[in-house]
């Protein structure tokens, strides 16, 4: 047994133990913390699977933003905790659930053990056209050139989710401020931490975004870090979220997908296909799309964590 395999086995056992604990632990808040830890352990697995772009996304989003979202929700729902404990399902339900889950796991395991060999791969095809896209990171080339349609739809899904969240506001808070509780002392340690951390985090976020063309990174990872810095500053009481009815906010939210659609359909005229880029202009067009998508993603991701508007809009 090699050392690498020993590390992989240890990591697998840790992740399975963490997942089991997250499911089984009684206290919901503990379960949320377990889930965040689990997300960070998964990040290590992505590194072991030679997928650093996915690792960055998982760390920023799976562990970070999802964690912030769930911690906020668990804190607000604390008072319902004891009532829901009486709803524990019967032994029969639990046994059936265990049998069903074991069957699903067994079926998937059989599939994993019988995967075709040699494995099918699109890596040579992706490498063959990499030069014409002007970017060095094949994952970025897939996201913004080969399968740009997926990325456009993804940006739209994020926006639709935000519209859904905003639609859950009370009538009296319609178009108002999303509540994000800040009990922070303006001279306290959290405010100090936010002042020191936010400038560093903003530089790191922009760097990760910029480097994504040629190395692991990209707009989703960078945008998540910037969104986290914004939330940190707001959580520390140093800034406030804007009311969701602000025009500039809505313009920035729509601008990213709109630029993407315009450039995509312009390909019909300039390069004879939707989402095709004319020869030699691929890199600048990809950059234009990424720069337009950045504010959209930062705002949308942070506002998704902030949730539905809770307070009156400005009159």
């Amino acid at each position: 047994m090699t050392l690498a395999l020993a590390v992989d086995i240890g990591l697998t056992l840790l992740i399975l133990a963490m997942a089991a604990w997250t499911i089984a632990v009684r206290d919901t808040f503990a379960s949320v913390i377990g889930f965040v830890t689990y997300g960070l352990l998964l990040t290590l697995v992505w590194v072991r699977l030679a997928a650093p772009d996915v690792a960055l996304t998982e760390a920023a989003m799976g562990g970070g933003l999802t964690g912030a979202l769930l911690i906020g929700a668990a804190a607000r729902l604390r008072s319902t905790e004891s009532a829901s404990r009486t709803e524990r399902p019967s032994v029969l339900t639990r046994t059936l659930a265990a049998v069903l889950s074991a069957a699903v796991t067994a079926a998937l395991a059989i599939c994993v053990l019988n995967l075709p060999d040699p494995a099918p791969t699109l890596a040579p095809a992706a490498a063959a056209q990499l030069g014409s896209t002007g970017v060095g990171n094949p994952v970025t080339a897939v996201l913004l050139a080969y399968r740009a349609m997926d990325t456009l739809l993804e940006a739209i899904v994020v926006l639709l989710a935000l519209v859904g969240v905003w639609s859950l506001a009370h009538d009296r808070a319609w178009g108002g401020y999303p509540q994000l509780r800040s009990h922070a002392d303006p001279d306290g340690i959290l405010a100090y931490f936010a002042r020191v951390m936010a400038p560093v985090g903003i530089i790191v976020g922009i760097y990760i975004f910029w480097i994504g063309a040629d190395f692991p990174g990209g707009k989703f990872q960078g945008a998540t870090i910037l969104a986290a810095m914004w939330l940190l500053v707001i959580g520390a009481g140093l800034a406030h979220l804007p009311p969701v009815s602000q025009t500039w906010l809505r313009v920035l939210l729509v601008a990213g997908p709109l630029v993407f659609i315009v450039i995509g359909f312009a390909g019909l005229v300039t390069a004879e296909a939707v989402f095709a880029y004319p020869n030699g202009y691929a890199k600048p067009l990809i950059l234009a799309i990424e720069i337009a998508l950045m504010p959209t993603l930062v705002l949308a991701l942070a506002l998704l964590v902030a949730g539905a508007p809770q307070r009156m809009p400005p009159q």
Partner: protein, 114 residues
């Protein structure tokens, strides 16, 4: 046994754990967490398959890796929407339950059926 196969089996187990949590845990927030564990298991399975497709100097097939990034972002959006729905349910009644009848409270002491 190599790395991708090991993590593929780990992914299969995670889907099972998540499914069990989704069915058995009564609190909706715990169901959302269970659902996310199923999702991460599916992602990990896809990532193991991407790793098997390593070729021409790349550590893995970049196409599934890019789709994984898309998937993680979409999963986050769906989770945010689910949490917002749950918090709105809590704002409405102060109770968060998916039970078909309201849980018994101290004030309503129904007489037992004969």
């Amino acid at each position: 046994m190599n790395g991708p196969t090991l993590f593929g089996l780990c992914a299969a187990a995670l889907v099972g754990f998540g499914l069990y949590g989704l069915i058995v845990n009564p609190q909706p927030l715990r169901k959302i967490i269970g659902f996310n564990i199923i999702g991460s298991g599916v992602f990990l399975l896809f990532g193991a398959i991407a790793r098997r497709g390593a070729a021409v100097g790349m550590g893995g097939d970049p196409v599934p890796q890019a789709l994984l990034i898309t998937g993680i972002v979409v999963a986050f959006s769906a989770t945010a929407l689910a949490v917002a729905l749950l918090l709105r349910l809590f704002d409405e009644g102060g109770l968060v339950t998916l039970a078909s009848e309201a849980p018994p409270t101290k004030t309503t002491a129904d007489p037992p059926d004969a």
